[in-house]
Symmetry: C2
Subunit: 134 residues, 2 copies
């Protein structure tokens, strides 16, 4: 069912410093900061040859990343995203397997404009998993 690893999302307390570190110290291809007000984050994409890293920083008052950074002030890996062909079929299979889909259990439109859902980290070794329909 799951396909490519679409991205690894890292919550960071200082987006500019982290972007500079990936660009200058690690020598990666780093994009400009992009505000995504509908998702409560500002994102910097780091393009690797086979996948991407998303640096996430809170935007606005209801950011899903703010509480994570309160618990992890120096930042940390926030979630990993796997691609699926059919998000509805994926959700059904996951529920049948006993995994909890966050929210009301139905896919919503994610930060890339594609249908996504998130799985409960307690069901997956403490990892927040996003599934994105490609």
């Amino acid at each position: 069912m799951i396909g490519r690893l679409n991205h690894v999302a890292i919550a960071v307390p200082d987006l500019e410093a982290s972007a500079a570190q990936y660009r200058d110290t690690l020598g990666a291809q780093v994009g400009p900061p992009l505000d995504q007000p509908d998702h409560g984050v500002t994102v910097v994409f780091i393009d690797l040859p086979n996948t991407k890293i998303e640096l996430l920083h809170p935007l606005g008052d209801a950011s899903p990343v703010a509480a994570f950074l309160e618990r992890n002030p120096s930042g940390g890996i926030h979630h990993i995203c796997y691609e699926v062909d059919d998000i509805g079929a994926a959700a059904a299979r996951l529920r049948a397997g006993g995994a909890r889909v966050l929210g009301d259990g139905t896919p919503r439109i994610g930060a890339h404009g594609k249908p996504v859902l998130f799985l409960h980290p307690k069901d997956f070794n403490g990892c927040l998993i996003e599934l994105e329909q490609i």
Copy 2:
């Protein structure tokens, strides 16, 4: 400098259950458990089309994963690994950029038989980063 994302390593409290979950619930290609006594872990590789996931479980009395699981009993993402062409040049560039290389700062042979080094998580947004020479 950094190239492909070689793998995401997830520490898990129950290797068999986690492997079954990735195979049956997430429908991924899951390999057999492999003991790596020199590295204090038993590993299950999950092959995705563009990268891999490594499920890590402690093996032996001096496992580097045991303390992580004590802090995170349900598991969690332990490290991410980026590929580099020249590990010596990478170490020199990182030290010049002020990043701390763990251990004595020199590369050692990693779990895939290639030279690796690890960077201090406090220097990289709370993420433990492995660099592997390919």
